[in-house]
């Protein structure tokens, strides 16, 4: 390989936290125009490595060589100046600002907002990532927020783009569109460092892969030459756990949750209105709702959970109309909810885990409430139970929610909700931004709960996930829900078409 054309070379990069080696002698090379995968389980050291490339952490040892010269990256601004752009897994956008304002903030000063808005709309349409410059971030879906991140990154004209789990919120078609964008960028000579757990897409997209485990490089390969199983083995170091299906598919048990011709106006002009949505959840079944971000998933979740009230008989729990009951009263009836956003919705970021137990278990877990007082001791006990049972890995005894990795926090949230007698579970994007091991754990938990007789509604944009766990699938498109069809009698292609075209297949 000609040394002169290497874009980025890492030599023996190490990062220590006390005696813990987050990164241990990592070396890799990226050529211009190469799409390079960085594979590894949660905690393997991917984020640490990427943060050092992007300047938010400093390596303790080793050298970063950029276009043949040793580079120091003291901060993200320096990284951007070099030509390193990053699309984050957890979006770093200001909710209250518009798309254009958010992007202007990241660009070097000197351009007017109008110029930025014009450029961003040009770039976004030319790459097929439609965006409205004047929309406010809090009105955008997760998928749309990602577009903002990508466009923001592209406007900085980077030579290397780091993408952290970019497809975790996209439909297969959307992902395919993103891949087109990425391939085009690659043809234009931009290198891409692609972090993902989805082995199939790494195989389809990436020319090179570096695999990390426990902070070390454990393998380098050409993904196309490998199988998903062999990649997973390298990543996990053992055979990956496959979901074991339930023995007896239950045919139409008792109806536990019903939504009857639910229509809801959007709260603002950017929300999707729900139009005449009806569904039934049966005991022992997992129903999946597929759809692209921003087609009414969050609105449906809010209405079913009781965060937004609706007509009293438009939502029924075990036959009882609950449209006018708040979320905690619905929990008392046995319905549990797991929201899409973990931090700031399902959990208070700066609160400890035990305090986050109180957040949704108050009034349900008898030991927590002592008259007007809260028993912190009991909360810690519940927290310990959840941590043990759901394998939540954490740094200290009772850390803050925001210090946990995505996968571990999601396991904690899931555990918290299903600890008691969860008869109905509604979960929105259960494994978004969660590592492969945790995702398998979470899906297995859902399948096991259904086997015990729970009725489960999984709203997800990950079709692989839905086909893995759901008994029946419907699609949500522009606020309309299609009829449920048994998973066995449909396929990814049909569902994918329904998601994008919005046509209804009335079977």
């Amino acid at each position: 390989m000609d040394q002169g054309e290497v874009l980025l070379k890492l030599e023996g990069i190490s990062k220590y936290y006390g005696s813990f080696k987050a990164n241990d002698q990592i070396s890799l090379e990226i050529l211009p125009g190469e799409i390079h995968a960085l594979l590894g389980e949660n905690g393997a050291g991917k984020s640490t490595l990427v943060k050092m490339l992007y300047g938010s952490l400093q390596p303790d040892e080793g050298r970063i060589i950029w276009e043949g010269h040793e580079a120091h990256v003291p901060n993200p601004a320096a990284a951007r100046e070099l030509g390193v752009g990053m699309v984050f897994q957890h979006f770093s956008l200001f909710d209250a600002l518009t798309v254009a304002e958010n992007i202007a903030l990241a660009l070097p000063p000197g351009k007017s907002l109008k110029q930025v808005a014009k450029e961003l709309e040009e770039v976004s349409t030319s790459y097929g990532l439609p965006l409205k410059a004047t929309a406010r971030i809090h009105d955008l879906s997760v998928g749309e927020r990602q577009r903002v991140e990508i466009v923001r990154c592209l406007l900085q004209h980077p030579k290397l783009i780091i993408m952290d789990e970019p497809t975790s919120v996209l439909t297969p078609q959307e992902a395919e569109d993103l891949f087109k964008v990425l391939r085009r960028l690659s043809e234009e000579g931009k290198a891409i460092l692609y972090i993902s757990h989805k082995l199939a897409e790494v195989q389809a997209l990436c020319q090179e892969a570096t695999i990390l485990r426990h902070g070390k490089v454990v393998g380098e390969c050409v993904p196309a030459d490998e199988t998903p199983i062999s990649l997973a083995k390298m990543m996990v170091g053992s055979d990956i756990h496959e979901i074991s299906p339930r023995d007896v598919p239950v045919a139409n048990g008792e109806v536990l949750l019903q939504v009857k011709s639910l229509s809801l106006e959007g709260l603002s002009g950017f929300d999707t209105a729900l139009k005449d949505v009806s569904l039934m959840l049966h005991a022992g079944e997992i129903s999946g709702i597929a759809g692209i971000a921003g087609n009414g998933q969050n609105e449906l979740f809010d209405a079913v959970s009781g965060e937004r009230l609706s007509e009293n008989d438009s939502v029924l729990i075990k036959g009882k109309p609950v449209g006018q009951l708040g979320i905690q009263k619905r929990r008392k009836l046995g319905a549990m909810y797991i929201s899409e956003e973990r931090l700031g919705h399902a959990a208070v970021p700066e609160f400890s885990l035990s305090e986050n137990v109180i957040l949704t278990r108050h009034g349900l877990e008898k030991s927590l409430d002592k008259g007007p007082f809260v028993s912190r001791g009991a909360a810690r006990k519940v927290k310990d139970e959840i941590v043990d049972k759901f394998d939540v890995r954490k740094g200290s005894a009772d850390p803050t929610a925001m210090s946990l990795s995505g996968g571990n926090l999601q396991k904690f949230v899931l555990g918290r909700e299903v600890m008691g007698n969860a008869e109905i579970i509604v979960v929105n994007q259960p494994t978004w931004g969660v590592d492969a091991g945790s995702a398998a754990h979470i899906r297995q938990t859902l399948v096991d709960l259904a086997a015990k007789g729970a009725a489960i509604l999984v709203i997800s944009q990950d079709l692989d996930e839905l086909f893995e766990v759901a008994d029946a699938i419907a699609t949500l498109s522009e606020g309309r829900l299609s009829a449920f069809v048994p998973t066995r009698s449909t396929d990814r292609h049909k569902i994918g078409l329904q998601m994008t075209s919005g046509t209804h297949e009335h079977a």
Partner: protein
């Protein structure tokens, strides 16, 4: 760092104060001594300190709850005045209705008065989404003028030689002095400490306190937990109003013994500083209340011994708030100067 910030802030305020005195032509160290040390070197003035600290602690502790739940009540001063007036109804209008039961009734009515007045901005916020900062502040001026009018008009003492003040309260309508031999401090200070401790228990140990913190930290998560943000607006305002009303009647029935056209030198505003200096923690508010009471006391002392205006007290209070907030900001954020083009962008 959270607890260090008020200390750094206080130190910086003292340094800035020293510079101010130097510019005024006073010896800086001597002036600071006269301002902050001398007033507490004698027993009677320690008593004065406790009298001034009581309303500050009461209202500071109440505002901690308000601010932790993201309800920005700036009107404690007005709620204090209304509490003082409501609590004075019995001794002013029914002077012959007297006995040991009067004082407890007065305290209760004071609390209710403060709550009723605080309910106005809460109602406006929940019904019409008005900004509570503006409404609660404007209500202060209404309360001040209403008190002034009442004391000069309908409630003026018929035997008072036309002075603008009400009847003097009788024995049963006064809060007793703790150690009359040493100074004037009354049991109002004890009430303040007890209330602050109760509010601490509320915040640290109860479900309600947990709700307050969740709603303040993450409104979306609070919704997910089924906590009602509108009810919280009322809870926070009514609690702060109750402490302010109590502070009002404690001041009137304790220190002054009658209503006058003004009953507070701005305690309700200073209590905002108390809440922040005390880290929005009711126990912190006890300490901060004593510190800020000292700035009032020092201001009075400085008038006499240094011959400077008592406005110096306000300057010190302003400096303390300014530096504490600045420390909070600078500890959490790094300031970087960037080119003027950014400003143009903002203007575009």
């Amino acid at each position: 760092m959270t607890y260090l910030s008020p200390l750094i802030g206080l130190t910086l305020a003292l340094i800035a104060g020293a510079i101010m005195f130097a510019v005024l032509g006073k010896p800086p160290l001597g002036a600071l001594y006269a301002y902050f040390i001398e007033p507490v070197s004698e027993m009677w003035s320690v008593h004065e300190l406790l009298i001034k600290a009581a309303p500050l602690i009461l209202m500071g502790a109440g505002l901690c709850v308000c601010y932790q739940s993201n309800n920005w009540n700036i009107g404690a001063e007005g709620q204090m005045i209304m509490g003082g007036m409501a609590g004075s109804i019995l001794p002013v209008l029914f002077p012959h209705f007297s006995g040991p039961f009067v004082l407890p009734l007065m305290l209760v009515m004071g609390v209710l008065g403060g709550m009723a007045y605080a309910a106005i901005p809460a109602l406006l916020k929940t019904k019409f989404r008005t900004n509570e900062i503006l409404t609660s502040l404007m209500l202060v001026y209404i309360a001040q003028l209403f008190l002034d009018w009442t004391v000069r008009g309908p409630w003026r003492n018929p035997e008072g030689m036309n002075f603008p003040e009400t009847r003097r309260f009788d024995e049963f309508a006064r809060i007793g002095e703790m150690i009359p031999a040493d100074g004037r401090a009354n049991y109002g200070f004890v009430i303040a400490i007890v209330v602050a401790l109760l509010i601490w228990v509320l915040m640290a140990k109860t479900m309600k306190g947990f709700q307050v913190k969740v709603i303040g930290a993450s409104p979306r998560a609070a919704k997910f937990a089924g906590f009602d943000a509108k009810k919280m607006v009322f809870f926070a305002f009514l609690l702060a109003g109750a402490t302010a009303g109590l502070a009002g009647i404690v001041e009137v029935a304790g220190a002054t013994g009658q209503l006058r056209p003004t009953i507070s030198p701005g305690y309700g505003f200073t209590a905002i500083i108390v809440a922040f200096l005390g880290r929005l923690n009711p126990i912190g508010a006890i300490i901060a209340g004593l510190v800020l009471a000292l700035t009032f006391l020092g201001g009075e002392a400085a008038q006499i011994s240094l011959g400077v205006s008592d406005k110096v007290a306000r300057v010190f209070q302003g400096l303390i708030l300014f530096f504490v907030l600045a420390c909070d900001t600078l500890i959490l954020y790094r300031i970087r100067l960037v080119g003027s083009k950014v400003l143009q962008k903002g203007a575009a």
